[in-house]
Subunit: 219 residues, 2 copies
């Protein structure tokens, strides 16, 4: 199948070694930022923060989060061009959703007189996924993975290599990036850049997915 | 920003009324299937099943799942061209992961002698997300949303309208599609097709997202 979609998804793989000399140009970073912002989410909740690590100083801070575990991902902290921390709000509230609905009215997407109706409808869906303690992190984390899927597709189209990492120390990230996270939780980071030519054992390997008949049923 | 990525993401919106006369051609469905299959997931776990509802008979079954709630999404069951049920495995086990690692070896992606090491490494990550009862549905659901984000981007590139729906009756879907789900859980469905010209209030509305500075921090 030679459609560009399939070509891009076959281009994408989990890069294991970055070329520290290669950097993503600013115009492509701008596209990635806007693509993240445009990610869909349930009831347009956008329960996320994306922290882009670009400066050497921020990279050093991210590097330090591997002090206790997942050392195999530590080199990406300084060798990748950029890292994005994907963080979700574990206690999404009506206060946050109000910002969304206000943005919908302001943009002209939603008539002002429907503001309250949308608040009620959206928070109904949040409520379905909220426990008695106000925790809805399973729901908001899933939305953040939706954004991750969107961004992974985006960067493949831009010819940028990437490494989604659950192998990050969420606790230490929570401490070291406490101020930027503001209570949000980061359990997943995405390294971005360009693989080291001849130095990445995972580059050019055949894709390994379950056969179509194992995962897709057509009725 | 006029890059094709941004154009496609602005094309995408939550379609609220489908043209029942328009159907997605088979070659595009084939691309969607392959794009889903190629979706990335943590440790390549692929803890998902995608059930594509195409026939009138299957659409009637999906229609029937709205008997008790979320009636506002019911029309999509028969008016959309296709519906995909996104289902996750709430109790992902080593038995399932063995199929993945075998596929990695068979494809040439993984040397046969690394089979056991990969089993251990992969199941370590699953284990981090598994409770004492073997439940890891929060983790596997998130992977399925990653696939959803990938597919939403894919269909936008193909000029296909879509509606991600958390407004589905997971319980009733579990009963009516019990055989196909085989213990997997569907809490999210995706309607696909083409909007009804002049009949969809949500078509052509401005995008409403939080401002970049609210969701993206560059360090």
């Amino acid at each position: 199948m030679d459609h560009p979609v399939i070509k891009d998804l076959n281009f994408r793989y989990a890069c294991k070694k970055y070329d520290a000399a290669k950097r993503i140009p600013a115009d492509k970073i701008a596209i990635i930022k806007e693509a993240m912002r445009l990610s869909p989410s349930s009831v347009n909740s956008q329960p996320w923060k994306f922290i882009i690590i670009e400066s050497d100083e921020a990279k050093q801070r991210f590097h330090d989060t591997f002090a206790n575990k997942f050392e195999f991902n530590q080199p990406h902290a300084t060798e990748a061009s950029h890292i994005i921390l994907f963080a979700y709000n574990p206690y999404y509230t009506a206060e946050q959703y109000k910002k969304v609905v206000n943005a919908e009215v302001k943009s002209g997407h939603l008539p002002a007189e429907k503001h309250d109706e949308m608040m009620e409808k959206g928070m109904f869906f949040a409520g379905l996924n909220t426990d008695t303690k106000g925790y809805n992190g399973c729901w908001t984390k899933a939305q953040t993975y939706l954004a991750l899927g969107n961004v992974l597709h985006t960067v493949a189209r831009l010819g940028i290599d990437s490494t989604p990492m659950e192998g990050v120390d969420s606790e230490l990230i929570g401490e070291i990036f406490k101020e930027e996270l503001g209570g949000y939780v980061c359990e997943t980071a995405l390294a971005l850049g360009y693989h080291l030519e001849g130095g990445d054992y995972n580059h050019g390997q055949p894709k390994a997915r379950l056969p179509l008949e194992d995962v897709v049923t057509v009725l």
